[in-house]
Amino acid sequence: MNSNAKTLTVTVDRFDGDTHYQTTHEVPTRDNQTVLDVVTWIQQHDDPTLAYRFACRVGMCGSCAMNVNGEPKWSCRTHVSKVVSGDASLSIAPLRNMPVLRDLSVDMSEFFDKWTQAVGYFVPTKTKDDPLSEITSDDRARAKANQSIECINCGICYSACDVVAANDAYLGPAALNRAWTLMNDERDGARQTRLDAVSGDAGCHNCHSQHGCSTYCPNLLAPASSIAGLKRQTLMNLLPWGPSDD
């Protein structure tokens, strides 16, 4: 960042419900400043009509994601100095691939509908009256499930994926990543149903391994690898001699 710059020129993609337009703002720079702080400053001091979303401020709720200089990021944990170019300017836009409600707020309902469609929820085999499953800390399937578990449903991967952009029905990396986690959960009782759900016309096979998802996931998850795992597992289902997925 240009340390001499006292202000930052910020361009924001806006939508008022009818029309798309852009606004430009001069935002004072500070040493400690995230993209969320920039957006907050604009709304509080320059343009009260700006709509955006956040909750936790620390990268846990996945509410604050937006496109920063064309790349999807969690705004609360993106320090301005890491994204500002030499000319002290910044462009901010809503996430792609979700309908914009207002300015930087997008409608995530389809994202979560697809989560459910991918059977991205646990189906129990035990009840609360049973003891907890004994799964050792070095259990292999569990280790695999753990690799993909810390998803905050921020929609960044979904927004980075061009297959989602091109194909409305595609379940997308987040839901498939969740499905893969559950496929590795030995306590789950619906693995076949889930495998069928992710092998349909909207399923994992539509992924072209573009890797936008794994590149941008702020929690360093690798949905692309999860999806590859699903592809292997569905193949195994079709081919008795298919590669084993132990």
């Binding site: 496109n67 200089n69 064309g70 790349e71 999807p72 836009a93 792609r96 927004s159 980075a160 061009d162 072209h208 391994s209 573009q210 890797h211 936008g212 590149t215 941008y216 692309a224 690898s225 590859a228 592809k231 292997r232 193949l235 590669p243 997925d245």
Partner: protein, 112 residues
């Protein structure tokens, strides 16, 4: 704006797609030319002589390049999707591209 596409694996995807598409569109032409053999060796020869023209040669080398890119890139995807090898995909795609260039150069060399 499309900066989310600026990482190596997205470019690898694009290259794979373009090469596959080009192959799919070129193959019919290739088949038509070979099919000329039905009208006798001379017709095929005329067509092949056409391929001695420099720009046609260049196009052919380009095609070999595409085939190599698609083939090696395809191997990369097959490794990624079908095996448990967790090789560095960026490294793989760069190598695939490098190797494709080498193969195409060999072709160019032989064809000259």
């Amino acid at each position: 704006m499309m900066k989310h596409r600026s990482h190596p694996l997205w470019k690898a995807f694009l290259l794979h797609r373009i090469s596959g598409l080009a192959l799919a569109l070129f193959l019919p032409i290739h088949f038509v030319i070979l099919g000329l053999a039905l009208e006798g060796a001379s017709a095929l020869n005329t067509a092949l002589a056409f391929s001695d023209l420099p720009f046609v040669k260049a196009a052919e080398v380009g095609l070999i390049l595409l085939l190599a890119i698609h083939l090696l890139g395809g191997i990369r995807i097959l490794i990624l999707e079908l095996t448990h090898l967790s090789w560095d995909q960026q490294m793989l795609s760069r190598s695939a591209f490098g190797l494709s260039a080498i193969i195409a150069t060999i072709f160019l060399w032989s064809a000259l």
